[in-house]
Symmetry: C2
Subunit: 436 residues, 2 copies
């Protein structure tokens, strides 16, 4: 993957593509809800019609990748079965069912007689998405972009090139059949273009990277374009002294093993000293039987944790069946530890004590603060957004799991009848500032 970590200057061909995309995105931003839903259905129809070609292209990609000897995990993500394709197509139609995020009036007021202000949501423009192998992501991302009136520039993993091309060709056909400009979806396939996107700040308004932490960090540091994403997911779970040990263990296990490679899986367990021995007596065999390697501070090692942690462990996102464990004296020490090491993704507390829970949730400055539930709930679909365009760990909005809301911005529309500011300075006119 290191060979993509260069930022070449965009060449003429890429600039032309970007300009066509920009123009198409302006047209897309002017379409109405019905047009966009219709386009999504036509995109889905076209994918269905071209299913055979898409599957064949994927078989070709798969063969090549296998010959190249890429990892099993990557191969399994590359593979697009008939079922996966069908559910992807169904996903495109479902995106049409999501509420229209465009044109929502957020503020509407009369500033003065005849002078009216409106703040309305509008598409962001062009969304750049850089993702790894999974070709089903192309369908999902493209449909979310069109749903929200944006254009999209896609760059997938090169091992899925043929599949991605076949999918995008079908999607463009669908757009052609609707009133929308097919150039609103643009797929980059050459290695050279892949990172040059980072220099397209005149054309691309937001980049959403979907890949390794390494990739996300590189992108954040090498572009002036805003990036929606998170580099790390170092989530904590603190087990207070007033708990049911069974509940605590159940939630801790789920937070770690339900899907350890996810960013919302827990990496560090903090345990109140008063219940630590009892908890670990139950927990160690349980984690062991689930192949979770526990790495603890000295106190927890004295209580049976097998491996001793070093300072680096508190800063590590294992993304694996590994969990660091620390015994703390009290809630305050747990909060201090989290404030120091959390990546501000999601941190949870298990306690029966409501005031402890509130203190924890108020003082921890993470996008998600959870009480008595698994950190794995931090997800756009589980939050009921119907879609997730990314998860952000920055402090400013949008943060946490971001749904379609993350693909729109807003604009102020001010309409007058020849109003000038000087009349207000002189006292000839006055502001009414009435909500309407």
């Amino acid at each position: 993957m290191t060979d993509i970590f260069e930022v070449p200057t965009p060449d003429k061909d890429l600039l032309d593509k970007a300009e066509r995309l920009r123009i198409a995105s302006i047209k897309t931003s002017q379409t109405n809800n019905i047009d966009r839903i219709r386009a999504l259905n036509l995109m889905a129809d076209s994918l269905e019609k071209n299913s055979q070609e898409i599957i064949e292209a994927n078989i070709e990609d798969y063969k090549k990748a296998k010959n190249k000897g890429i990892s099993k995990a990557l191969l399994s993500r590359l593979k697009l079965s008939k079922q996966k394709l069908s559910s992807g197509i169904e996903g495109v139609r479902q995106v049409g069912n999501l509420a229209d995020p465009v044109g929502k009036i957020q503020i509407k007021k009369e500033l003065s007689e005849g002078l009216n202000l409106e703040r309305k949501t509008v598409p962001i423009g062009v969304i750049g998405v850089i993702f790894e192998s999974r070709p089903d992501a192309v369908m999902q991302i493209s449909s979310l972009a069109i749903r929200s009136g944006n254009g999209v520039m896609l760059k997938g993993g090169s091992e899925a090139n043929l599949t991605n091309l076949a999918i995008v060709s079908a999607l463009k056909n669908g757009l052609q059949n609707s009133n929308l400009d097919e150039n609103a979806i643009c797929l980059l396939t050459s290695r050279k273009d892949s990172m040059a996107m980072l220099k397209l700040e005149k054309f691309v308004n937001l980049i959403i990277p979907r890949g390794s932490n390494e990739l996300v960090k590189f992108i954040q540091e090498n572009t002036e374009i805003p990036v929606l994403g998170h580099a790390d997911g170092i989530c904590h779970l603190y087990i207070d002294n007033e708990v049911s040990l069974d509940v605590a263990l159940k939630v801790a296990l789920d937070s770690k093993i339900q899907y350890p490679a996810a960013c919302n899986a827990v990496e560090t367990l903090l345990i109140h000293k008063d219940i630590a021995a009892d908890f670990l007596k139950k927990a160690i065999p349980s984690f062991n039987s689930n192949d979770v390697k526990l790495i603890g501070d000295r106190k927890s090692v004295q209580m049976g944790v097998a491996f001793e942690a070093n300072y680096e462990d508190w800063k590590t996102e294992y993304l694996d069946l590994m969990l660091s464990v620390k015994i703390v004296d009290n809630l305050e020490e747990a909060i201090d530890h989290i404030q120091k090491f959390s990546s501000k993704h999601t941190d949870g507390i298990i306690t029966k004590n409501i005031s402890n829970a509130n203190k924890f949730m108020n003082e921890i400055d993470s996008a998600g603060v959870f009480h008595n539930c698994s950190t794995r709930f931090a997800d756009g679909f589980r939050y009921g957004f119907g879609a997730e365009v990314g998860i952000s760990t920055q402090t400013l909005p949008p943060r946490g799991p971001v749904g379609l809301e993350g693909l729109v911005t807003y604009k102020y529309f001010l309409r007058g009848e020849g109003h000038i500011v000087d009349d207000f300075s002189s006292g000839k006119s006055i502001f009414t500032h009435k909500d309407v």
Copy 2:
């Protein structure tokens, strides 16, 4: 000003200050609305009590600055008269009257039985503000930060150091008299510290620069901390062919001359060719008598504009009594020009043709799109926000004039009863996703 354009590494003293501020900001974020309003009133009381000291400190600063030979404009901004101080103090009390931006529930829903999600606004944390001479800004910024539950790190111009110290000392006294931690306001005075703030990404969550474009650009390029601000305000006004020439001229004049140094003043006038000759016949004498230098394209020069523009003019924010003028063939050409040169601050159209107005307002991707009114209305107070913490020209929110809303973010609170994701994967539990 060039000597501040270095970024030194924060020293121990600054790091200690920042840590105290961070802790105080966490305490401030936990205060309720009544506490914060009370604190603002006590801050105002304390300023009143210490008025004499503040005025004397300002006289001292003024003397020193005058001896140093700083510019008249800077001297006038530095001067803090009794009246200016009083209105500043009144401003602090008024900030207490603004609606509380903290704790607003944006989303509240049941994800499943007993599993409840809430998205609530919370303070951002520590706001860093770097501003130039005006000492009254200290009162305004500090009160907005406290109103919204944040801590604030201030760096003013060094020529106002004594005044700023006297004001901050009074403000801290006010905080001490309330339940709030006086360390929530932190003033930096040494030249060394001024730019080191840019490296305090562990302590400062948002930087708001208030100063020259040069300063803003430098800050944006030299910090990992998010920056709320705009570097340029290149605003356009397009005069369509269906207009009352009188209205067009009145709005154009106001947009330029009402306060030419403001970012929302117009820099380029685009005029439809069909009415250009008639308009300029009226406009040229009018601009001349208001000392506005017109710099136009060849066509407009042929119609009497005195100076010919070069390519750079279209990209220049004059911030002065200068205005570039271009004759365009139609609305489309105006839109193209704006899309190429606008800094996305505010762009307006004068027309009686509603469909032209709508096309303009929909296609121009600026924070403010105005119809038949002066660009000078683009301002937080005129929009009725009661305060303005900055104006942003970025595409993503917050954009345009930003009120107190820009000093809060949000957090997801999820409360369960031992809920785990595995139960939903296995089908044992189901999501309800009910708004409550």
